[in-house]
Amino acid sequence: MKRRTLIGALAAAIAFAAVPKRARANPKKIRPPGALPPGKFEQACIGCYRCAEVCPTKCIEFPSTFSLDQATPFIDTASRACVLCMKCTQACPTDALTRLAADADVVFQSVKMGVPKLTRSKCLPWNGTGVCRLCYLVCPYPDKAVELVGPQKAPLFHESACVGCGLCEEACPELAQAIVIEPLGSA
Protein backbone atom coordinates (compact mmCIF):
# COMPACT_ATOMS: atom_id res chain seq x y z
CA MET A 1 0.00 0.00 0.00
CA LYS A 2 2.81 2.35 0.92
CA ARG A 3 4.66 1.45 -2.20
CA ARG A 4 1.57 2.07 -4.24
CA THR A 5 1.22 5.51 -2.72
CA LEU A 6 4.83 6.25 -3.52
CA ILE A 7 4.57 5.08 -7.09
CA GLY A 8 1.28 6.91 -7.49
CA ALA A 9 2.83 10.12 -6.23
CA LEU A 10 5.78 9.84 -8.53
CA ALA A 11 3.56 8.97 -11.48
CA ALA A 12 1.35 11.98 -10.78
CA ALA A 13 4.39 14.22 -10.55
CA ILE A 14 5.79 12.92 -13.82
CA ALA A 15 2.42 13.24 -15.51
CA PHE A 16 2.13 16.86 -14.43
CA ALA A 17 5.69 17.56 -15.42
CA ALA A 18 4.89 16.38 -18.90
CA VAL A 19 1.79 18.54 -19.27
CA PRO A 20 2.56 21.91 -20.91
CA LYS A 21 1.88 24.62 -18.42
CA ARG A 22 1.27 28.28 -18.20
CA ALA A 23 1.78 30.25 -15.06
CA ARG A 24 -1.57 31.48 -13.84
CA ALA A 25 0.09 33.48 -11.12
CA ASN A 26 1.23 36.42 -13.15
CA PRO A 27 0.72 39.56 -11.15
CA LYS A 28 1.90 42.71 -12.82
CA LYS A 29 4.88 43.65 -10.79
CA ILE A 30 8.34 45.00 -11.42
CA ARG A 31 10.75 42.13 -10.95
CA PRO A 32 14.44 42.42 -10.07
CA PRO A 33 16.84 42.88 -13.00
CA GLY A 34 17.62 39.89 -15.15
CA ALA A 35 14.29 38.29 -14.26
CA LEU A 36 12.82 35.77 -16.66
CA PRO A 37 9.78 37.00 -18.57
CA PRO A 38 6.53 37.32 -16.59
CA GLY A 39 5.03 33.89 -16.12
CA LYS A 40 8.37 32.14 -16.46
CA PHE A 41 9.75 34.02 -13.49
CA GLU A 42 7.01 32.87 -11.14
CA GLN A 43 7.71 29.30 -12.22
CA ALA A 44 11.42 29.47 -11.46
CA CYS A 45 11.47 31.50 -8.24
CA ILE A 46 11.53 29.55 -4.97
CA GLY A 47 11.22 32.61 -2.77
CA CYS A 48 14.54 32.12 -1.05
CA TYR A 49 14.99 35.93 -0.69
CA ARG A 50 18.72 35.76 -1.36
CA CYS A 51 18.32 38.53 -3.95
CA ALA A 52 16.75 40.83 -1.38
CA GLU A 53 19.46 40.04 1.15
CA VAL A 54 22.31 41.07 -1.12
CA CYS A 55 20.62 44.16 -2.58
CA PRO A 56 22.69 47.21 -1.53
CA THR A 57 19.76 49.60 -1.72
CA LYS A 58 17.31 47.10 -0.23
CA CYS A 59 14.91 47.84 -3.04
CA ILE A 60 13.83 44.21 -3.48
CA GLU A 61 10.76 43.49 -1.42
CA PHE A 62 8.42 40.61 -0.65
CA PRO A 63 4.67 41.06 -0.37
CA SER A 64 3.04 40.86 3.05
CA THR A 65 -0.27 39.64 1.71
CA PHE A 66 -1.22 36.02 1.43
CA SER A 67 -1.37 35.39 -2.26
CA LEU A 68 0.16 33.16 -4.84
CA ASP A 69 3.00 35.59 -5.44
CA GLN A 70 3.77 36.00 -1.77
CA ALA A 71 7.10 34.29 -2.21
CA THR A 72 8.28 36.24 -5.23
CA PRO A 73 10.37 39.39 -5.03
CA PHE A 74 9.36 42.68 -6.56
CA ILE A 75 10.62 46.24 -6.67
CA ASP A 76 8.50 49.19 -5.67
CA THR A 77 10.33 51.78 -7.73
CA ALA A 78 8.36 54.64 -6.24
CA SER A 79 9.95 54.15 -2.85
CA ARG A 80 13.30 52.61 -3.72
CA ALA A 81 14.91 52.01 -7.06
CA CYS A 82 17.36 49.52 -8.44
CA VAL A 83 20.92 50.71 -8.98
CA LEU A 84 21.67 47.93 -11.46
CA CYS A 85 24.54 46.44 -9.45
CA MET A 86 23.42 42.94 -10.57
CA LYS A 87 24.31 41.41 -7.21
CA CYS A 88 20.87 39.83 -7.02
CA THR A 89 21.34 38.04 -10.31
CA GLN A 90 24.54 36.56 -8.99
CA ALA A 91 22.81 35.34 -5.83
CA CYS A 92 19.86 33.59 -7.46
CA PRO A 93 20.14 29.81 -7.11
CA THR A 94 17.51 28.89 -9.68
CA ASP A 95 18.36 31.32 -12.48
CA ALA A 96 14.96 32.95 -12.12
CA LEU A 97 17.22 35.99 -12.33
CA THR A 98 19.68 35.41 -15.13
CA ARG A 99 23.24 35.95 -13.99
CA LEU A 100 24.55 39.22 -15.45
CA ALA A 101 27.73 41.22 -15.12
CA ALA A 102 27.50 44.75 -13.73
CA ASP A 103 28.64 46.18 -17.04
CA ALA A 104 26.83 49.14 -18.53
CA ASP A 105 26.47 47.53 -21.97
CA VAL A 106 25.45 44.13 -20.67
CA VAL A 107 22.83 45.70 -18.45
CA PHE A 108 21.60 47.92 -21.27
CA GLN A 109 21.11 44.96 -23.57
CA SER A 110 19.81 42.38 -21.13
CA VAL A 111 17.76 44.15 -18.48
CA LYS A 112 14.17 45.15 -18.98
CA MET A 113 12.27 45.60 -15.75
CA GLY A 114 9.49 47.91 -16.86
CA VAL A 115 8.59 50.79 -19.09
CA PRO A 116 8.53 54.44 -18.02
CA LYS A 117 5.35 56.45 -18.34
CA LEU A 118 5.52 60.20 -17.98
CA THR A 119 2.46 62.27 -17.18
CA ARG A 120 3.38 65.53 -18.83
CA SER A 121 0.76 67.57 -17.02
CA LYS A 122 2.46 66.73 -13.73
CA CYS A 123 6.05 67.14 -14.90
CA LEU A 124 7.50 70.46 -13.73
CA PRO A 125 9.39 71.43 -16.92
CA TRP A 126 6.53 70.25 -19.13
CA ASN A 127 3.87 72.19 -17.28
CA GLY A 128 6.24 75.09 -16.82
CA THR A 129 6.16 75.30 -13.03
CA GLY A 130 9.79 74.60 -12.26
CA VAL A 131 13.35 73.81 -13.16
CA CYS A 132 13.89 70.10 -12.76
CA ARG A 133 15.98 67.60 -14.63
CA LEU A 134 16.39 65.07 -11.88
CA CYS A 135 15.12 62.14 -13.94
CA TYR A 136 17.70 62.88 -16.60
CA LEU A 137 20.42 63.46 -14.04
CA VAL A 138 19.87 60.22 -12.15
CA CYS A 139 19.32 58.09 -15.26
CA PRO A 140 22.05 55.48 -15.84
CA TYR A 141 21.54 55.85 -19.57
CA PRO A 142 21.00 59.56 -20.14
CA ASP A 143 20.38 60.62 -23.74
CA LYS A 144 19.42 57.05 -24.55
CA ALA A 145 16.56 56.30 -22.20
CA VAL A 146 15.66 59.89 -21.49
CA GLU A 147 16.68 63.03 -23.28
CA LEU A 148 16.00 66.65 -22.57
CA VAL A 149 14.09 68.50 -25.22
CA GLY A 150 13.15 72.09 -25.84
CA PRO A 151 14.23 75.28 -24.10
CA GLN A 152 12.63 74.09 -20.86
CA LYS A 153 14.82 70.99 -20.95
CA ALA A 154 11.85 68.75 -20.42
CA PRO A 155 12.36 64.99 -20.31
CA LEU A 156 11.37 62.73 -23.18
CA PHE A 157 11.48 59.02 -22.47
CA HIS A 158 12.39 56.34 -24.97
CA GLU A 159 10.74 53.18 -23.74
CA SER A 160 12.76 50.87 -25.94
CA ALA A 161 16.06 52.11 -24.50
CA CYS A 162 14.93 52.16 -20.87
CA VAL A 163 15.95 49.32 -18.55
CA GLY A 164 13.24 50.29 -16.06
CA CYS A 165 15.46 50.66 -13.00
CA GLY A 166 13.13 53.29 -11.56
CA LEU A 167 15.80 55.73 -10.39
CA CYS A 168 13.81 58.45 -12.16
CA GLU A 169 10.54 57.46 -10.52
CA GLU A 170 12.16 57.43 -7.09
CA ALA A 171 13.82 60.78 -7.72
CA CYS A 172 10.81 62.55 -9.23
CA PRO A 173 9.89 65.30 -6.72
CA GLU A 174 7.09 64.65 -4.27
CA LEU A 175 5.04 67.50 -5.64
CA ALA A 176 5.23 66.15 -9.18
CA GLN A 177 5.31 62.33 -9.16
CA ALA A 178 5.03 62.44 -12.90
CA ILE A 179 6.93 59.24 -13.71
CA VAL A 180 5.69 55.73 -13.16
CA ILE A 181 7.55 52.61 -14.19
CA GLU A 182 4.93 50.20 -15.43
CA PRO A 183 5.60 46.48 -15.09
CA LEU A 184 5.97 44.38 -18.18
CA GLY A 185 2.87 42.57 -19.36
CA SER A 186 2.65 38.88 -20.11
CA ALA A 187 5.22 37.62 -22.55
Binding site: M1, K2, T5, L6, G8, A9, L10, A12, A13, F16, A17, V19, K21, R22, A23, R24, A25, G39, K40, E42, Q43, A44, C45, I46, G47, C48, Y49, R50, A52, E53, V54, C55, P56, T57, K58, C59, E61, F62, P63, S64, T65, F66, L68, D69, Q70, A71, T72, R80, A91, P93, T94, D95
Partner: protein, 311 residues
Protein backbone atom coordinates in the same frame (compact mmCIF):
# COMPACT_ATOMS: atom_id res chain seq x y z
CA UNK B 1 -4.01 0.59 17.73
CA UNK B 2 -3.75 1.86 21.28
CA UNK B 3 -2.94 5.55 21.55
CA UNK B 4 0.51 6.50 22.65
CA UNK B 5 0.86 7.76 26.17
CA UNK B 6 1.82 11.48 26.35
CA UNK B 7 5.46 12.42 26.25
CA UNK B 8 6.96 13.23 29.64
CA UNK B 9 10.04 15.41 30.19
CA UNK B 10 12.07 12.65 31.76
CA UNK B 11 11.56 10.44 28.72
CA UNK B 12 14.06 12.66 26.98
CA UNK B 13 16.84 12.10 29.54
CA UNK B 14 20.12 11.56 27.74
CA UNK B 15 21.43 8.14 28.63
CA UNK B 16 23.72 7.27 25.73
CA UNK B 17 25.02 8.75 22.53
CA UNK B 18 25.70 12.12 24.15
CA UNK B 19 28.05 13.22 21.39
CA UNK B 20 25.54 12.35 18.73
CA UNK B 21 22.92 14.45 20.49
CA UNK B 22 25.30 17.30 21.20
CA UNK B 23 26.41 17.39 17.59
CA UNK B 24 22.84 17.32 16.43
CA UNK B 25 21.71 20.09 18.76
CA UNK B 26 24.77 22.16 17.87
CA UNK B 27 24.07 21.73 14.17
CA UNK B 28 20.42 22.53 14.69
CA UNK B 29 21.26 25.62 16.71
CA UNK B 30 23.66 26.72 13.99
CA UNK B 31 21.04 26.18 11.35
CA UNK B 32 18.34 28.07 13.23
CA UNK B 33 20.80 30.79 14.16
CA UNK B 34 21.66 31.20 10.49
CA UNK B 35 18.02 31.86 9.77
CA UNK B 36 18.00 34.68 12.27
CA UNK B 37 21.51 36.02 11.93
CA UNK B 38 21.97 36.09 8.18
CA UNK B 39 19.24 38.68 7.48
CA UNK B 40 20.64 40.86 10.25
CA UNK B 41 24.13 40.40 8.92
CA UNK B 42 23.20 41.21 5.34
CA UNK B 43 21.36 44.25 6.48
CA UNK B 44 24.69 45.71 7.49
CA UNK B 45 27.16 44.02 5.23
CA UNK B 46 26.65 45.95 2.03
CA UNK B 47 27.85 49.18 0.48
CA UNK B 48 25.21 51.34 2.02
CA UNK B 49 23.81 50.93 5.48
CA UNK B 50 20.47 51.24 3.79
CA UNK B 51 19.39 53.68 6.41
CA UNK B 52 18.64 56.28 3.80
CA UNK B 53 16.64 53.78 1.84
CA UNK B 54 14.62 51.61 4.08
CA UNK B 55 12.23 53.26 6.40
CA UNK B 56 10.39 50.04 7.04
CA UNK B 57 12.57 48.59 9.72
CA UNK B 58 14.54 50.07 12.55
CA UNK B 59 16.95 47.16 12.18
CA UNK B 60 18.46 49.09 9.32
CA UNK B 61 19.84 51.54 11.76
CA UNK B 62 21.72 49.17 14.02
CA UNK B 63 25.19 47.99 14.32
CA UNK B 64 28.54 48.24 12.73
CA UNK B 65 29.31 47.36 9.18
CA UNK B 66 30.95 44.18 8.15
CA UNK B 67 33.64 44.54 5.53
CA UNK B 68 32.34 44.62 2.01
CA UNK B 69 33.29 41.29 0.57
CA UNK B 70 31.20 38.48 -0.86
CA UNK B 71 29.22 37.16 2.09
CA UNK B 72 30.24 33.58 2.93
CA UNK B 73 26.68 32.63 3.79
CA UNK B 74 23.66 33.82 1.87
CA UNK B 75 20.14 32.52 2.30
CA UNK B 76 18.59 30.19 4.83
CA UNK B 77 18.88 26.43 5.41
CA UNK B 78 16.41 25.65 2.61
CA UNK B 79 18.45 27.51 0.05
CA UNK B 80 21.88 28.59 1.08
CA UNK B 81 25.16 29.46 -0.51
CA UNK B 82 28.08 28.49 1.71
CA UNK B 83 31.40 29.87 0.49
CA UNK B 84 30.11 29.59 -3.04
CA UNK B 85 28.70 26.08 -2.66
CA UNK B 86 25.01 26.03 -3.49
CA UNK B 87 22.63 23.98 -1.39
CA UNK B 88 18.97 23.98 -2.36
CA UNK B 89 16.25 21.96 -0.73
CA UNK B 90 15.43 19.08 -3.11
CA UNK B 91 11.73 19.72 -2.58
CA UNK B 92 11.90 23.37 -3.67
CA UNK B 93 14.17 22.41 -6.53
CA UNK B 94 11.67 19.71 -7.45
CA UNK B 95 8.95 22.34 -7.66
CA UNK B 96 11.11 24.31 -10.06
CA UNK B 97 11.80 21.19 -12.12
CA UNK B 98 8.10 20.45 -12.26
CA UNK B 99 6.91 23.73 -13.70
CA UNK B 100 9.97 25.44 -15.05
CA UNK B 101 12.39 22.79 -16.14
CA UNK B 102 15.82 21.47 -15.39
CA UNK B 103 19.17 22.97 -16.24
CA UNK B 104 22.72 21.98 -15.41
CA UNK B 105 22.77 24.66 -12.77
CA UNK B 106 19.66 23.08 -11.26
CA UNK B 107 21.46 19.75 -11.14
CA UNK B 108 24.47 21.22 -9.35
CA UNK B 109 22.44 23.14 -6.81
CA UNK B 110 20.23 20.19 -5.94
CA UNK B 111 22.90 17.49 -6.04
CA UNK B 112 24.50 18.03 -2.61
CA UNK B 113 21.10 17.97 -0.93
CA UNK B 114 19.97 14.87 -2.79
CA UNK B 115 23.17 12.99 -1.98
CA UNK B 116 22.83 13.88 1.69
CA UNK B 117 19.20 12.78 1.82
CA UNK B 118 19.91 9.56 -0.02
CA UNK B 119 22.66 8.74 2.45
CA UNK B 120 21.15 10.00 5.66
CA UNK B 121 17.45 9.82 4.93
CA UNK B 122 15.15 12.34 6.47
CA UNK B 123 17.98 13.86 8.51
CA UNK B 124 17.03 17.46 7.61
CA UNK B 125 13.93 17.17 9.80
CA UNK B 126 15.96 16.22 12.86
CA UNK B 127 19.11 18.17 12.21
CA UNK B 128 18.43 21.42 10.44
CA UNK B 129 14.75 22.26 10.13
CA UNK B 130 14.04 25.72 11.62
CA UNK B 131 10.58 24.43 12.55
CA UNK B 132 12.14 22.17 15.21
CA UNK B 133 12.29 24.81 17.94
CA UNK B 134 8.62 25.45 17.31
CA UNK B 135 7.91 21.73 17.49
CA UNK B 136 9.86 21.54 20.73
CA UNK B 137 7.81 24.44 22.00
CA UNK B 138 4.68 22.61 20.99
CA UNK B 139 5.81 19.54 22.95
CA UNK B 140 6.53 21.72 25.96
CA UNK B 141 3.09 23.25 25.66
CA UNK B 142 1.63 19.76 25.60
CA UNK B 143 3.50 18.82 28.82
CA UNK B 144 2.27 21.87 30.60
CA UNK B 145 -1.29 21.51 29.44
CA UNK B 146 -1.36 17.82 30.34
CA UNK B 147 0.25 18.66 33.66
CA UNK B 148 -2.53 21.14 34.26
CA UNK B 149 -5.02 18.37 33.67
CA UNK B 150 -6.13 19.06 30.10
CA UNK B 151 -6.79 16.06 27.95
CA UNK B 152 -5.04 16.80 24.67
CA UNK B 153 -5.85 15.02 21.46
CA UNK B 154 -3.15 12.99 19.80
CA UNK B 155 -4.87 11.95 16.62
CA UNK B 156 -2.78 9.39 14.78
CA UNK B 157 -3.12 11.00 11.36
CA UNK B 158 -1.92 8.44 8.84
CA UNK B 159 1.50 9.16 7.53
CA UNK B 160 0.25 8.72 4.00
CA UNK B 161 -1.55 12.02 4.48
CA UNK B 162 1.79 13.72 4.02
CA UNK B 163 2.23 12.10 0.65
CA UNK B 164 -1.24 13.14 -0.29
CA UNK B 165 -0.34 16.65 0.79
CA UNK B 166 2.86 16.50 -1.23
CA UNK B 167 1.11 15.29 -4.34
CA UNK B 168 -1.65 17.82 -3.76
CA UNK B 169 0.82 20.69 -3.53
CA UNK B 170 2.60 19.47 -6.64
CA UNK B 171 -0.71 19.25 -8.48
CA UNK B 172 -1.62 22.79 -7.48
CA UNK B 173 1.86 23.88 -8.51
CA UNK B 174 1.47 22.24 -11.88
CA UNK B 175 -2.04 23.63 -12.39
CA UNK B 176 -1.19 27.20 -11.45
CA UNK B 177 2.30 27.12 -12.85
CA UNK B 178 3.42 29.06 -9.79
CA UNK B 179 5.59 27.94 -6.95
CA UNK B 180 3.17 26.95 -4.17
CA UNK B 181 5.68 25.03 -2.05
CA UNK B 182 7.40 28.14 -0.68
CA UNK B 183 4.00 29.24 0.59
CA UNK B 184 3.25 26.16 2.67
CA UNK B 185 6.60 24.56 3.41
CA UNK B 186 7.50 25.66 6.97
CA UNK B 187 11.32 25.77 6.72
CA UNK B 188 11.11 28.06 3.69
CA UNK B 189 8.29 30.03 5.32
CA UNK B 190 10.10 30.53 8.60
CA UNK B 191 13.22 31.78 6.87
CA UNK B 192 11.24 34.23 4.81
CA UNK B 193 9.19 35.44 7.76
CA UNK B 194 12.30 36.11 9.84
CA UNK B 195 13.78 37.92 6.87
CA UNK B 196 10.54 39.86 6.56
CA UNK B 197 10.63 40.78 10.23
CA UNK B 198 14.21 41.99 9.99
CA UNK B 199 13.97 43.80 6.68
CA UNK B 200 10.51 45.29 6.93
CA UNK B 201 9.72 45.11 10.63
CA UNK B 202 6.59 43.08 10.04
CA UNK B 203 5.53 39.51 9.43
CA UNK B 204 4.02 38.34 6.20
CA UNK B 205 0.86 36.30 6.30
CA UNK B 206 2.97 33.17 5.83
CA UNK B 207 3.47 33.36 9.58
CA UNK B 208 -0.15 32.21 9.91
CA UNK B 209 0.77 28.87 8.33
CA UNK B 210 3.52 28.41 10.89
CA UNK B 211 1.17 29.38 13.69
CA UNK B 212 -1.41 26.95 12.34
CA UNK B 213 1.15 24.17 12.32
CA UNK B 214 2.06 24.98 15.92
CA UNK B 215 -1.57 24.88 17.02
CA UNK B 216 -2.17 21.66 15.08
CA UNK B 217 0.85 20.04 16.72
CA UNK B 218 -0.18 21.23 20.15
CA UNK B 219 -3.91 20.53 20.18
CA UNK B 220 -4.60 17.94 17.53
CA UNK B 221 -1.71 15.65 16.98
CA UNK B 222 1.75 15.62 18.49
CA UNK B 223 4.23 16.54 15.71
CA UNK B 224 1.33 15.80 13.43
CA UNK B 225 2.29 18.48 10.97
CA UNK B 226 5.80 17.15 10.51
CA UNK B 227 4.64 13.57 10.36
CA UNK B 228 1.50 13.81 8.31
CA UNK B 229 1.25 17.14 6.53
CA UNK B 230 4.66 18.54 5.73
CA UNK B 231 5.36 18.06 2.04
CA UNK B 232 9.09 18.29 2.68
CA UNK B 233 8.94 15.47 5.21
CA UNK B 234 7.02 13.37 2.71
CA UNK B 235 9.54 14.08 0.01
CA UNK B 236 12.47 13.18 2.24
CA UNK B 237 10.66 10.04 3.37
CA UNK B 238 10.29 8.96 -0.22
CA UNK B 239 13.94 9.57 -0.95
CA UNK B 240 14.92 8.01 2.34
CA UNK B 241 14.08 4.61 0.90
CA UNK B 242 17.62 4.46 -0.39
CA UNK B 243 19.32 5.40 2.85
CA UNK B 244 21.43 2.67 4.38
CA UNK B 245 21.33 4.12 7.88
CA UNK B 246 18.90 2.45 10.20
CA UNK B 247 18.03 2.14 13.91
CA UNK B 248 18.16 -1.48 14.99
CA UNK B 249 17.17 -3.12 18.25
CA UNK B 250 18.95 -5.83 20.18
CA UNK B 251 16.00 -7.88 21.30
CA UNK B 252 17.91 -9.40 24.21
CA UNK B 253 18.44 -6.02 25.83
CA UNK B 254 14.99 -4.56 25.22
CA UNK B 255 12.71 -4.34 28.24
CA UNK B 256 9.64 -3.19 26.31
CA UNK B 257 9.53 0.03 28.32
CA UNK B 258 8.01 2.03 25.39
CA UNK B 259 10.25 5.06 26.04
CA UNK B 260 11.67 4.92 22.51
CA UNK B 261 8.24 4.83 20.97
CA UNK B 262 7.11 7.73 23.11
CA UNK B 263 10.04 10.03 22.45
CA UNK B 264 9.81 9.68 18.70
CA UNK B 265 8.15 12.77 17.25
CA UNK B 266 7.50 11.08 13.98
CA UNK B 267 5.62 8.07 15.29
CA UNK B 268 8.26 5.44 14.60
CA UNK B 269 8.12 2.39 16.80
CA UNK B 270 11.64 1.10 17.42
CA UNK B 271 10.40 -1.07 20.28
CA UNK B 272 8.53 -3.28 17.85
CA UNK B 273 11.00 -2.74 15.01
CA UNK B 274 8.35 -0.78 13.19
CA UNK B 275 10.70 1.72 11.61
CA UNK B 276 10.00 3.05 8.17
CA UNK B 277 11.41 5.73 5.90
CA UNK B 278 10.01 8.44 8.16
CA UNK B 279 12.90 8.16 10.61
CA UNK B 280 14.64 11.53 10.89
CA UNK B 281 17.87 10.14 12.34
CA UNK B 282 17.57 12.31 15.41
CA UNK B 283 18.81 9.44 17.61
CA UNK B 284 16.56 10.37 20.50
CA UNK B 285 15.27 6.81 20.82
CA UNK B 286 18.83 5.54 21.09
CA UNK B 287 19.73 8.21 23.62
CA UNK B 288 16.73 7.64 25.83
CA UNK B 289 16.76 3.83 25.84
CA UNK B 290 17.48 2.79 29.44
CA UNK B 291 19.19 -0.45 28.39
CA UNK B 292 21.21 0.53 25.31
CA UNK B 293 19.14 -1.80 23.22
CA UNK B 294 19.02 0.56 20.20
CA UNK B 295 21.80 1.71 17.90
CA UNK B 296 22.46 2.96 14.38
CA UNK B 297 23.55 0.36 11.89
CA UNK B 298 24.29 0.34 8.21
CA UNK B 299 21.63 -1.89 6.73
CA UNK B 300 19.98 -2.67 3.46
CA UNK B 301 17.96 0.37 2.32
CA UNK B 302 14.22 0.13 2.88
CA UNK B 303 13.46 0.09 -0.82
CA UNK B 304 15.42 -3.08 -1.39
CA UNK B 305 14.21 -5.00 1.57
CA UNK B 306 11.87 -7.93 1.06
CA UNK B 307 8.20 -7.20 1.95
CA UNK B 308 8.25 -9.54 4.96
CA UNK B 309 11.10 -7.56 6.48
CA UNK B 310 9.03 -4.43 6.25
CA UNK B 311 7.00 -3.35 9.22
Amino acid sequence: MAPRRPLQPLDLTLRHGRWYQRTRVAFLTFSVALTFVLPLWHLHSLDVAGAGFAQDSAWFRLGRAFPDQPPPFVGAPTSISVFGLELVDPLLAGGVALVHGVSWKWVWTVLPGVVLVLLLGRFFCGWACPYLPILAASNVARWFLTGLGFKLLDVPVPRAAARVALVGVLIVTALTGAQVLPLVYPPALIGREVFHAVFYGSLGLGALVVLGAFLFDTFVSRAGFCRSLCPGGAMFSVMSGLSPLRVVREKSKCTDCTVCDVVCNLGQKPMTDKLDTGCERCGKCIASCPTKALSFRVAKPALFRAPEEKP
